[in-house]
Amino acid sequence: MLKYLASSALISNYIISAFRSLVRHKMNLVLTVIGLSIGLAAALMITLFTINESSYDNFQPDASRTFRVIFHHKVSDNEYPMTSPRGYPFLTKVSGVEDVLNLINMEFLWTGKVIIGADNFKLEKTIAAHENLTDFIAIDVLHGELATALTQPNKIALSSSEALRLFGTENAVGKTFLSISSNQNIEVSAVFADFSDNTHYAMNSIVSAKRFMNIMGKVSYTYVKLLPGADIESIAEQTTEIFNRIWQDKSNTVRFDLQPLLDIHLAPNHNVDLKVGGSAKTVMVSIALSILLLLISSFNYINMSIAQAGVRAKEVGVRKVLGASKLQLIVQFLTESVVIALTSALLACGLVELLLPAFNQLVGRELAIGNWSQYLFEIIATAVAIGIASGLYPAVFISSFSIHRVLSGDFGRGKTAIVVRKSLMILQSALSVSLIISAASLYFQLNYLQNLDVNYEKNQRLRVLDVPADLLYPQDDQSFYQALSTIDGVISSTPVDFDLTKSTNAGAFVTSVPGIKDFDQSMGFGGVGFDAVQALGLQLIAGRDFSTQYKSDWFNEEQGTVAIIIPESVLAAAGYKNAEQAIGQVWRFDAGPHQSLQGKIVGVVKEVKIGSARNEAYPVLFVCGLTIPSEGSIVIEVDDQNSLKIKQDIIKLVEQRFKMALVEIELVKQNYQQLYQKDNQLVDMVAIFSGLAVFLTCVGMFGLSAFNAQQRSQEIAIRKVLGASRFSLMSLLTSESIVLIAMSLVIAFPVSYYFINEWLNNFNERINQSITIYLIAAFVVALVTWLTVAAIALKTASVKPSLSLRYE
């Protein structure tokens, strides 16, 4: 039976026939093969990306048994990946726990500012850990002894790029630098290879954690390695109990969860993570996009094959006459489509080699194809599967032609052929239009989310970092800010003790609101100075900004009074019917070491969105002249954020006044964009792949229209003989296509609208579907088709009728 269907002689006949036929009809070749190659190349790159994203940290020792401890605040539903290192001795005793790793983020404990020779440097991403570090993380030590740095004080291990940066040489073992804050010399005892891309761990330098294990605050990333078969739930509960005891917290508002190490990379990011991770959503969207591209290319192929069926009909008739059975013909055409798919796969591999660097730019990874033979089997299998899937319907369709009809020439012009041709055109057009609309809507929605109002201003803002708090919030001396305002280009400035683009540091606990029994709104504490609303670009809806005109705004320690600005979202809970009612009211609150402060409301602002625009807004209580953390920053509104001179003037002033070296200044906008890079990436990725998808469908439209026009060459010749002008012939063909496209809109518009609407309703904030997108999509498709058909009609109509009318 198999021999009957596919003897090797027959197969080679099919393949030879397929190749030669492809070469003769070059346009068909180009359109189908290129279309399929693009789809396959995209699928291949996305597969590489997905595999890479899913494999983060899988090379760490005992990765499947390792979990990260996550702090979960039940009331606000906030999560935090850090906790106190005090938990270490207790956690190791929990049954089922084999080992515990504390990675203490030195950012909270050390300025990182050092002197080497005559130069100042700042070390960032310094981690303090114990000797069991290498039991959890695979570290490649290049020089020296890592254990020394992990056990002895004043020793440090550097990554190789850090060693290069600081000392100009990779082997920096034995070299020393001076830590400014402790005035001690630190010696490099080891250099380790930079961490590879595919891990969520990130550290530039490592020190010993011995001195920091008693800290109460949440400064340590904590990981536990469980014994096989351990009860995760129970361990998590015990962890919660441990920390409730350590913090003496009986409020039962805290819960600890264990997050598998292997899930961390694709899980939602935390602002304090050392490295920006990936996103499960991006991965899923890219998978969806690549499947879409493959589907479109396959659909194009199916369409073109069916349309061209008429051309092959003669061959089909002849082969049937010569003894081919229907099944043999199906196998023949399937062989052809598999050959085309394999050719496309080859081309796709070439495309991937070419485009991988650009793709890496897009997704921010370093994907590489080490060895093609690894993927050979999968690639071939996929190509064959696609070839069969796309070729099946056309093969069955073509091989069912009745000999009689075919050989009598009825086929190309018969009624069926015309109906098929028109339906395919409508279908292709509907698909193209829907696709353009969907791609545009997806892009605009994502973009919209990106640019949602955060209710503070990122543009034209500079930020000076890491300034000691006592210098920023002087009791009775605004001379620094006055001097700052005299700099050319500075419009306003204010100190700020938290990073609006990241998170609030501390909480404000309101204890009494006049007229309200139980005010339980949790709020973040924002210590700012005069002109905070102006400098931060907050949206004031009632009252006024903190101002030097009202000296009493500033925090008065003796009297315990201070001016506050509240967010709009707490108005209702405080019993105010509108914002104006809040002005002048006095609330009592605790913050840090200060108890029962009296805060007089002078203004109400729109709630700010801390962190990503897509986060839920978190109410912040702005307090004038009071701060809790030991360091803060200055936010400065300037008229030209790119001016080097303004920056230099500011830096000079700060260095002079505050006797600081190495003043760091950044653009708020840039800082924000870098943090939410991966969101941007997603939008870019969608844009590019949707663009590709749209391009592919237009290619399909082009192929179909071209083919249809050519099929009517005989009709055109006849009309020409009967007196039609070239122009009227062109109008004839193009008007038919336009009518078909119009008909396709009847399908495409409602279907697109419905599905896109359903999707948009998943979002809290969504765009409205605009008629413009729909019209543009229809216009683009119509334009492509019109141009194609007009060009071909013109060309065909210029051919001598005698040539077309000759009986073939």
Binding site: R20, L322, G323
Partner: protein, 233 residues
């Protein structure tokens, strides 16, 4: 060898019914050279299709080698046809993407003939029709006469019992036409039955018997003029 009894063929398209063949009775003996003639639309091609097992009668019987194949399905007809009947068409109907050799070899592929046997038969037949020097060429590279010769070779390579030719010289000039007709006649002399549809009275002279169709019925069935001349002579 071939016997049609009261065979009819109707075509229905939507509301129009055309009777292409109306109660045809026809007997063809082995070794006959039959010419089918008649004005356009009289049913010649339909009759040829039916005889050639490309189509079946709606009513009546078709006996091929004593077996009634009127009700045979597509599969069975195909098997019988591919081993018994060679076709020569007016428009040659060669496959454009195959060489001359591959075109002639094609029916043998479907008959599962071994590679060596195929090679032998194809070379023989190409020599016979004097086209071997072009065996690696594609049809587009040949003249009309050469293409028809290839088509004849393809029809012959299966060693058919009957050759059916539909206006074989319709697309050829007189010289090439003569060659093709001469070929057909020599085949017939060697024992192959030939049934030919033609418009040309000239070509009909090669045949030993002529039938004339009109509106789906045979109105004349007699030995050809030449034969009658000989008979009367």
């Amino acid at each position: 060898m071939i016997k049609l009894t009261n065979a009819s063929r109707l075509f229905r398209t939507q509301d129009i019914e055309t009777t292409a063949l109306n109660n045809i009775n026809l007997t063809v003996a082995k070794g006959d050279f039959l010419a089918i003639m008649g004005p356009s639309g009289c049913g010649k091609s339909t009759l040829l299709s039916m005889v050639g097992m490309l189509d079946s009668p709606n009513s009546g019987d078709y006996f091929f080698d004593e077996v009634n194949i009127a009700k045979y399905g597509e599969r069975k007809l195909s098997k019988l046809r591919s081993s018994s009947i060679g076709f020569v068409f007016q428009s040659f109907n060669l496959i454009d993407s195959l060489t001359v050799f591959e075109n002639v070899e094609l029916p043998l592929l479907y008959l599962k003939i071994s590679k060596d046997e195929r090679k032998k038969r194809v070379s023989e037949i190409l020599k016979k029709v004097a086209i071997e020097h072009r065996s690696a060429h594609l049809p587009q590279q040949l003249s009309g006469g050469q293409q028809q010769r290839v088509a004849v070779a393809r029809a012959l390579v299966i060693k058919p019992k009957i050759i059916l030719a539909d206006e074989p010289t319709g697309n050829l000039d007189s010289k090439n036409g003569e060659e093709v007709m001469a070929m057909l006649r020599s085949l017939n002399t060697d024992g192959t039955t030939v049934i030919m549809v033609t418009h040309s009275e000239h070509d009909a002279k090669y045949a030993s018997r002529v039938i004339r169709l009109f509106d789906g019925q045979i109105i004349v069935d007699q030995a050809s003029d030449v034969v009658r001349e000989v008979q009367h002579a």
